[in-house]
Amino acid sequence: MAAYLKALRSTESDAVLATHHDGRTLASRLTDKYGDRVCSAFTVFGREGVFAPLPDDLPPALAGALAARGIDRLYSHQQEAWEATRAGKHVLVATPTASGKTLCYTMPVLSSVLEAGAKALYLFPTKALAQDQVAELLDINRAGDLGVKAFTFDGDTPGDARQAIRLHGDVVVSNPDMLHQAILPHHTKWAQFFENLRYVVIDEIHTYRGVFGSHLANVLRRLKRICAFYGVTPQFVLCSATIGNATEHAQALIEDEVVTVSQSGAPSGDKHVLLWNPPVVNPDLGLRASARSQTNLIARVAIKAKMKTLVFAQSRLMVEVLTKYLKDVFDHDTRKPARIRAYRGGYLPTERREVERQMRAGTVDGIVSTSALELGVDIGSLDAVVLNGYPGSIAATWQRFGRAGRRQQPSLGVLVATSAPLDQYLMRHPAFLTEASPEHARIQPDQPLILLDHIRCAAFELPFLGGDRFGPDDAEPFLQVLAESEVLHREGDRWEWIADSYPANAVSLRSVADGNFVVVDRTQGRQTIIAEVDYSAAALTLYEGAIHMIQSVPYQVERLDWDGRKAYCTRTHVDYYTDAIDYTKLKELECFDGRNSGEGSARHGEVHVVRRVSGYKKIRYYTHENIGYGPVNLPDQELHSTAVWWQLPQTVLDDAFRSRQHALDGFLGAAYALHTAAIVAVMAEARDLQKAVGSGDGGWSAQVDASGRGQIRAPDGGLALADTLERFLPTVYLYDNFPGGVGLSEPLFHRAPELLRHALATIDGCACKAGCPGCVGPVLAADEGREDTPRALARRVLTLLGATA
């Protein structure tokens, strides 16, 4: 209580402020007052606008509509996109966030609808973005009385509306999952639409990477195949955020050449960026203040300076905690409208639309969000963005910073480091953020299992003829396998679908989605659904006793109906929140193949992965004391998949390493390097292929804990010491993060020598001293001076496994 009152009365923030501020003045004030916490301050300079007049060949009605909305000239990149699309080319728009990318495709699409009655299909990764788009199109439609019919077509579209959309929709706005499951397998119902289809617009293509991107590329192959049946070759317009290889990625997705528009002509103000490290509060132990305390401070200062502020947190829990702290300061008078709102997945769609509306209208001063707001939902312009923790990629960092900045005004971006090793590494080496190019997006659409799934779906849609290709190759081997599993029947030259099943239902474009949970509020006899939680997050947030927060209002979960996918909770007034303790362990089930690898061995086969929540901590607000534990009794999340793994015999380890802890650190570092080499080799995303270090019999598992040290967990979840184990046979696993595997492990096994060689080369060629996120993983400042650095240890493990320079 005392801490809370103290926070309320804090004059710290008031002392910083004198007059009105903008990004530049606030950045310099913060640097002046808190210089010891600012590790780096730099400015991304803005630019003048480069304009072009509205094109001559724009239909007059459309020009009128644009003028009515205040658009009487274009940015240079919008004009470039116009020229390229009118010339019949596929176009990629890769300008930064908030540069008016939408107009690049809206103009050609609406022109073709007005001139030729052509149709267009828009694909967005989320429903929120889709609805935004339709709202935008309807606005332009109204402004110019154009008569264009635009609709969303997704899981929420009611049955009776669907037929009307199929027959009369000019622009259909949907998402890849809907296209895959509902539109393509029923394409005859869409015959009129396909016959007149001219443009396919795909936004946010940088999100289609790894296995998800590979699936999308195949859905597009099926789309093109069906368009060909109706005698049409659509033109693609793609939009991407700033990634290292936008053009290449776009070309890989549509398997055709694109014209890239990347120079933005939109004017922008300077962006002042600060890298902020919380101060050391205990010099003896080297403990720092928490990131959330700093984020809280910076956000308070910015909001009091009348800057519209957006705070990004790394988890839904942290969103709720931060919202609560800010609301305590700004929204303590509940009669007034809320100035602080939270935003995250898990809130009901109506709630999210409401928050978006308020943001656009400017009635909200501060928003706390997860990565849900990283993508292009229009929320107006903000003056300051604060990141609570490094989002994990350079691209995501700049994407988030890109949310701030109105026209020519200077804006502020602050990255606050948590105690996670990666964040701390960044604070010591800011060049990693500023000088590195953003990550590359990779896909591998010809992965055999993915290809098999989509050829199966394609055969359902249209029969295959002998000699037909799907993707770059002849589809015959796949058709044969499908005929053997009796879903296809071959007659002469044709392969026809005969099974009584709907293949698209069995193929999910994204990884496991095993049924969302709903959270039901039972306070005072009510039965209202207040939130939705997806399957993977359920075990971590909905156990009995958990405090689940919605808009920072706490509810306690009283009963969890796991099979019924419901959590019953009641409004509560406790002064703590809960945080689950979870760990992962792995067990080998079957080994398909193996061979020697240096002094150890490499194998691949089936594994069983278990993720268990063993309990939870109760943490008091403000003081962050741990005031208790609670048990959790939930089913484990299991995954049955394929993996590739490396091992060294105990004798070799005992000879080569001074202690088992050293060997363990070496294995953890080697796992990191091998994982990086592997995901590049198979064009996967980091989340598609997971790494783990453990003993293969499901005994113990090891992770790098929050303090950067390798920790062993015994089977019951408790911590153990390496030296106390009887058998010490650490193993590095790389497994497919999809049930049944998705075909990543086997090629990795066959290329194991190459992977080892490249992992070693990466470590050797790294300019760091003791280890870094680029080779073996971030290392603690303390480790940088060690004799046996994590880097050296990892190198030793890789060499023992047979890596040659």
Partner: protein
């Protein structure tokens, strides 16, 4: 790489798998092509290659194809651990009824005295006016499944109409996939501008399915725009709270006093046809044809029943089931 290939081939032979050597082309892109200049890789010492997917390796030869097949089969096996037991071979019949109109397309025609219908039928029960007896076409399809979408097809179409003083039942069915187009064409010839369609749940199921098949065959849909009496809905309106359910066989039993013996359930029809298609016995397919025949006959009977409701209700306002 050849040392590796031969070792793997040896392992494979040991395991009794396909003895074809594992081609180096199993994984399409070479490792060096996948590595790009991103910081996270710090690919020291590797040449920065083009990571574009143009300029791929040429299609592998037959040897690598069969190795690929084996790999695919095994990979697919990890996910679907279903062992399909092979049915023991028995001697069976492959005789199918009807005449062959064209390769794979068979035709059956039969005539029946009953039911008798007046020249004009009252369709007020279906919220329509009237129809002439000789315009009515009762139809029912047998399909490869209920999944819907473009992968489901009709393999049999039965139709009943009053012709030349009797109820004529015609049936078309295909014994090969290739005959679908001719079947659709033949059915279209039974329909003209005056046809009034009669079905049971046909508006939601049979008609859209045929529309899809005509569209895929790039033929005009002869059913579009025609008046369509779907008896399911009037039956439901009248008997929903009276009978245990409103399935056609229930209506048949209660209103027409017809009980079928040894009828093959509709859900077994897909398998019956597939069995025959794959070279198996035709016994069940014959039963499907009988089932389909009875379906369209009963349809005509139910239509005549429903035609009589208006008069019945006028006579006794509390319209009961007989």
């Amino acid at each position: 790489m050849s040392d590796l290939a031969s070792r793997l081939a040896a392992l494979r032979r040991q395991a009794g798998g396909v003895a074809a050597p594992v081609g180096a082309r199993l994984v399409r892109d070479s490792f060096s092509r996948g590595v790009e200049g991103a910081t996270e890789e710090r690919a020291a010492g590797l040449t920065a290659p083009t990571a574009s997917r143009a300029g791929r390796a040429p299609t592998p030869g037959a040897e690598a194809t069969s190795a690929r097949l084996a790999q695919l089969r095994r990979m697919a096996g990890v996910r679907e651990r279903i062992a399909q037991p092979r049915a023991p071979l028995r001697s069976f019949t492959r005789d199918v009824p009807g005449d062959e109109l064209s390769p794979g397309l068979r035709y059956l025609e039969q005539r029946f005295a009953l039911p008798v219908a007046p020249d004009e039928l009252d369709l007020s029960f279906a919220r329509m006016t009237t129809a002439r007896r000789d315009h009515l076409l009762h139809f029912d399809t047998e399909t490869t499944g209920l999944a819907g979408g473009t992968g489901t097809r009709a393999f049999m179409i039965g139709a009943a109409d009053w012709y030349d003083g009797a109820l004529r039942v015609r049936q078309l069915y295909m014994t090969t996939m290739a005959a679908e187009t001719s079947m659709l064409r033949a059915f279209a010839e039974w329909i003209d501008a005056d046809t009034v369609l009669v079905s049971y749940n046909g508006k939601s199921y049979d008609a859209p399915l045929l529309a899809t098949r005509y569209r895929l065959a790039r033929m005009a849909n002869p059913l579009s725009g025609l008046p369509h009496v779907d008896l399911l809905h009037p039956m439901r309106r009248r008997y929903r709270h009276v009978w245990e359910n409103c399935r056609m066989q229930t209506a048949e039993r209660r209103l027409l006093r017809i009980v079928r013996e040894d009828d093959l359930p509709g859900s077994e029809a897909p398998r019956a046809w597939l069995t025959y298609l794959r070279g198996g016995a035709s016994t069940d397919l014959v039963r499907v044809a009988e089932h389909n025949l009875q379906d369209v006959r009963s349809l005509s009977g139910l239509l005549v029943e429903a035609h009589g409701w208006a008069a019945l209700d006028a006579a006794s306002p509390a319209g009961d089931e007989k």
